[in-house]
């Protein structure tokens, strides 16, 4: 790493002050000065010693611009082909080092930064991840902030990067450090998707009235339940359907920043906060700069499952039509669906949606079984449940697997400091806000990790298995299979077929008990030996292939199984076959 410390000769106080001003600018992520032309030597001994130290420790030549890794973005194509495996992380906690094990990163402990995040990239690659979803990186607002650090979704300035994410041992500014991180990701084949916040912090609202939404009585519009943020106003006049040019400009500037950073795509937080027309400008704008720039919408279902005051309706299809490549969908309520057919019906609904006339090809979902807005899947059924959802994500059609940092070891996201008052003077009237069971967005917290590394091991194997059967899984048809003697409807059974090859997925969605039943697999010969391609976990399961393709199953709790079977004509067997429009 080249040193960023300039070769300077400080001659007088005026120059010292000038230097100090420049250091300050570095700290807030401003553009670095390209050169320093100071020829006189410092007269102060202390200052000279300081400069000497800097030169000795960090012989970085920050006069040279950062060399970027040559990278060709293809995230949009990958998303279209359902080949993306996403890992969501918060930079300030990703590789934080909690020495005293109090879950909180305090003075003396190493926070998560862009540079120390690089240490974990190989871990993600090993897990089969190829895309990182970086949660917002902007400095949070201070006023009305939640937690001690403020929510990552409460930006002070969307065009700035949080200086807390800078590694002080490296002289480069935070933006350059982010670029370094991105390059390291690219070197490993990891794409980077940056989060675009949907709202402003209170401070940002105060500073930028032209961007903000107001009630007619002059009060700022606040999304219900989120008192630390304020709504942007996408409309100049909603009746006339004219857009707010200031907000558009801000978003364009954000995209410019992303392009400069070489970010591969954007995950739009609460995409419904802006209308179709807005995205119909922004997304093409991004793609004019980078045609493979990918877009992921946080949008769930047409009938707003979680209506909020001051928040617009959720319209997934409109989001996809206006340019988003993928969206969240409803997998996060998989634990609330009580029957297996509800999952199947949902998948079918999405596949049918892709076939609609005005729907462009290649739209997909992410495997949003657990996002940062959901409680840890460990609460829904422990390790077995985590593995079950991993398996399903890996094999469902039009689904790009998605995981949140901490999932790989079963982090329950329980923090010891939960809701405790701050004990430092600076934050004396605040407390450590936390959403119990969810990844902490409001504090500098420990690196997400649990006590079940076997989840990560399973994930590794399954992602490898997915890779091996990539064609079938990403392009194949989806054939729900009939089940019998399954009164509780807990057996998930479907086949994926592509060019004569078939994989069979049978899973038990019940995390509390074993499940027996029959699965009809047309064309499967009696006595066919089913070999589970997914690693074993939990209780044993038993399968027996009988006459006419009837498979007797006796599965352990929340067990997932995948088999390759010899049924080349399964699509002609009379069962309903669904395909994604690719």
């Amino acid at each position: 790493m080249t040193s960023l410390i300039p070769q300077i000769n400080i001659v007088n106080t005026k120059t010292v002050n000038h230097y100090n001003e420049k250091i300050k600018k570095f700290e807030v992520g401003g553009e670095p000065e390209k050169t320093f032309e100071l020829t006189n030597m410092p007269t102060s001994n202390i200052l000279a010693q300081f400069v000497k130290k800097l030169q000795a420790v960090n012989p970085v030549d920050i006069t040279k611009p950062l060399e970027r890794f040559e990278w060709k973005n293809d995230l949009k194509d990958l998303m279209k082909e359902n080949k993306v495996v996403v890992w969501a992380m918060i930079p300030r906690t990703f590789n934080a080092k909690d020495k005293d094990r109090n879950d909180l990163i305090q003075d003396g402990e190493e926070k998560g930064t862009f540079l120390n995040a690089i240490e974990r990239l190989d871990e993600l690659v090993a897990l089969g991840v190829n895309t990182i979803h970086v949660l917002p990186i902007h400095p949070p607002g201070e006023s009305k902030a939640m937690g001690l650090s403020g929510s990552v979704y409460s930006p002070l300035d969307m065009l700035k990067i949080d200086p807390e994410l800078r590694d002080p041992s490296n002289p480069r500014n935070v933006k350059e450090q982010f670029k370094m991180f991105i390059d390291e990701c690219h070197k490993r084949g990891l794409h980077v998707m940056l989060d675009l916040p949907s709202c402003a912090s209170y401070d940002m609202y105060k500073r930028n009235p032209k961007l903000m939404a107001y009630e007619r009585n002059g009060n700022a519009k606040t999304p219900q339940g989120w008192q630390d943020i304020r709504m942007f106003e996408p409309w100049a006049d909603e009746t006339k359907r004219t857009l707010n040019p200031y907000l558009l400009k801000l978003h364009k500037d954000f995209i410019d920043m992303c392009i400069d950073l070489k970010v591969d795509g954007i995950r739009a937080d609460v995409a419904r906060a802006k209308p179709t027309e807005f995205w119909d400008i922004i997304i093409p704008y991004a793609q004019s700069k980078d045609p493979k720039f990918a877009w992921l919408a946080e949008t769930y279902t047409y009938e707003d499952a979680s209506p909020q005051l001051n928040m617009m309706y959720d319209r997934p299809k409109d989001m996809l039509r206006s340019g988003f490549d993928s969206y969240y969908g409803q997998y996060h309520i998989f634990n609330e669906w009580t029957k297996a057919h509800e999952l199947i019906d949902y998948v079918v609904e999405n596949l049918q949606m892709t076939q609609e006339k005005d729907m462009p090809a290649g739209k997909s979902l992410i495997g949003s079984f657990a996002t940062h807005d959901d409680i840890s899947p460990m609460f829904h059924g422990g390790v077995d449940y985590c593995n079950l959802t991993t398996g399903l994500q890996a094999t469902l059609p039009m689904t790009n697997p998605y995981f949140v940092d901490g999932f790989q070891s079963g982090d329950e996201y329980l923090y010891k400091y939960e809701n405790l008052k701050a004990d430092d003077q600076k934050h004396e009237d605040r407390k450590h806000d936390v959403h119990r069971g969810k990844l902490d967005l409001f504090n500098h917290s420990r690196k997400p990790a649990g006590r079940h590394p076997e989840i990560g091991e399973f994930m590794k194997s399954v992602m490898a298995m997915r890779k091996q059967y990539e064609d079938i899984i990403t392009k194949g048809s989806f054939i729900p299979l009939e089940t019998d003697e399954n009164a509780d409807d807990q057996i998930i059974a479907y086949a994926r077929h592509y060019k004569g090859r078939t994989i069979l997925v049978i899973a038990n969605r019940d995390v509390n008990k074993r499940e027996k039943g029959l699965v009809r697999v047309p064309g499967l010969n009696k006595g066919f030996v089913l070999k589970n391609l997914a690693p074993k976990y939990g209780e044993n399961s038993y399968f027996q292939v009988g006459q006419d393709g009837v498979v007797s199953v006796d599965m352990g709790k929340a067990r997932f199984h995948m088999f390759e079977v010899d049924t080349p004509n399964i699509e002609q067997s009379g069962l309903k076959v669904y395909k994604q429009k690719l």
Binding site: R207, N208, R216, T239, R241, L243, T276, P307, Y313, D318
Partner: protein
Amino acid sequence: MNLIDLTLQKTYVKPINPSPVKQSDEKLAPIATTSLKKPHRPERSHLVKDPFYMAPVNFVTDIYENIVNIKKGMMGKSNDHDLGRINDFAMKAGALGLAGYLFTRAKTPMAKTMELFGFGSFFASMALWPKLFIETPLKAMYGINIHQKYIDHEGRKKMFFQDPQYVPWDLYTSDELAKLGDKLGIPQNIHNRNEVIKRKAQKIALQGNTLWMLTAGFATPLGCSLICDFAGRKFISPLLDNLKMKKAESNLQNIEKIVENAFSKYDPKKLNGLLDLYKDREIDAKIFNMIVQNLLHDDDILGSKAIESQLQNIVSANKDSATVEYVDKFLKFIKDNACNAEDFKILEDSKSVIKNFAGENVNPRKFNMQVKYFLMQNDIDDLTILEFEELVNKFKSQKTNTNVMKLTPDAIYNIKQLDRGLFEFATRKSVLDKYKQTYLGDVAESIAANKWNSITSTFFKTLNVSSEELKKAKLDGLASYDILLDKIQKLVANDEAYKKAVSKIQEEILSFDSLIMPDAANGAPQGVKAKIIDGYTKLLEEQAEKFNKLGFNKITERLLGDTTEQGSLKANLLDQTRRRVDELRNGFYKILHVLDCFKRADDVKKGWDNSKFAQLYRNLSGGHANIPVNPTMRTLEKDLAQFKKIVLSATIADYTTKFGYRNPQFPLYDRMMKLIYSTDFDDATVAALADKQLGGTTFMAAFKKKINDTLSNLGNFVYPHADKVTTRNVVGSVGDILVRDSLAGPRIDEVFRETASNISNSAKWLKMFGGGFVALVGITLLAETFFGRLPFAEVYKRKDKN
């Protein structure tokens, strides 16, 4: 200050004033989106625009959906919305169950009907109140349907404004929104007009729904009671009457079918079991009584005595056979006991023929019948035949060696025949009894009872009783008399009002008469009375003949009695019917009579010489001992007070005791009765009653007859051994109690008080409920005029605020 602001104020973090940021002076123009992708509405989502007449269809489909939701809920497939809707169904089902239970407990058809109608009207009131008084006025005032429904993209029907955090405004096109804004009075030229439109519409919807919640608890029961009251009086009661009459007529027409159906279901298991058990065995009194009980068919009208007697004949007679020895004994008995043995000489002469009728296994009863027919065939006169029957009975009643009761096969056969005959009789009679009860029954909701209520109400209304007087009349018997007296006197003083009152009452009476009285002369259809009388006559005669043919003469006797029919069932039934009709009509006519009496008495004010009443009084005063020869106005006025008192409040006891007139005052009693029961009606009465359309002279004649009959039968009010009334030499007897009751008619002051009580209660509740409802409607409509007000500043947001 809204909830969010209050929440914000509670935050523990004090806002830090951020350092000001130099804002760019650049002014950017809003960006048009005409060519950009617009949001789409999924095909299935749309507003529901059902017209009013679809409400019943929607009611039914909603119930169907609720049932489907229950099924889904039980299978674990429901969501919150579905489960919430089950509540609607549960409420309806529960209410229906309650109504059904109360239906089974109600005694009369009207009460039963109102239980179910009440159930329906409760839900109708619940549905109509918001529709008529909240939704419709708000739509008229503001152009917004606060109960607008929509179909979501999964085909579920939901309320548009149900969730303030999710109002699917994208179902409105921009044109529709603009129109709505015009109706809401939102100015055209304000910034972001749609926002204001939505805000105001949601505000009105919220206020409307809040008002609905506030008022529904009052409006639903008030509305329900008013609907029930109105519908009950105007529609349900007449409808039920019509239905009852139709059913009664239909049953009468189809009596054969009814009997056929009854027989198809008739299975006398108990009787047959008893007979089988004791077949060919002798029976004692206990078994005998059991058989009798089984033959009664819950209708003891025949009396168990006739059946016992007949049964005795059956079970006893068969011990003897009509053997040759029997024949000899029989003929000897006849010869020895006949009044004139010569009358029965033919039997001796034709002994060989007679003996042919006999045999070892011949039933003596059969033998007796054959002998009887033999006599009839040989032209023996009726009297002799009758004597023969008496002799046969005497012969049978003689103690024989074999006077034991036994259930021989013949006896069993005859008992079964008797049973069938009695069952048929009971079935046919029950149809007629029900018919009679429907029209004439002394029970609530019979046609006669309803007619009585109607006439008394009409009479009451003609008196124009104020609400204050009504209250007094209801509570105090003395006060009610005074009020009645006062009102009648006022009524008769006004000729027009009097004529109207008389005409109305006449109309009521005619409607009853036209239903009950016609006797099919001149091709007119038979009235109820004639149908009942003819029906009973035909029934009894036919059945008597049937019983007679089967040899059940005891039963025949009971049905028809002897040639005079005295004491027979036939005489009983016919007499009851006639007396009941008379009783009813006497009551109706009494009201007219009372009015006429007062009208006649009213002309006393014309003076001693000009008054007709005074003239009558003078005429009735001469020629009697103990009556002053020269009656004066003073005596007239004194008698007038008594006259009015008798007319209004005489009881049966008063009639019986001659209103206190003791010997030697009976002539005074006589005069009073003639004053009261004079058929020289007042001119106004005659003019009113003579209206051709209301029966004219026929009615008048009937009315006169009633008065005359009463006058004629006054003697029947006299106790035994009392003095005779000079008009007729009749000594009354206890047996005439029924006659006098029907002639006297009801006590008018009591009728007035009861009617006052009923009307007062109805008026009180109507005032309370009706008044309450009207007040509620007024408040509701008034409140609605204040809906949707937005502060000026909210509407007119400054464009350059930022």
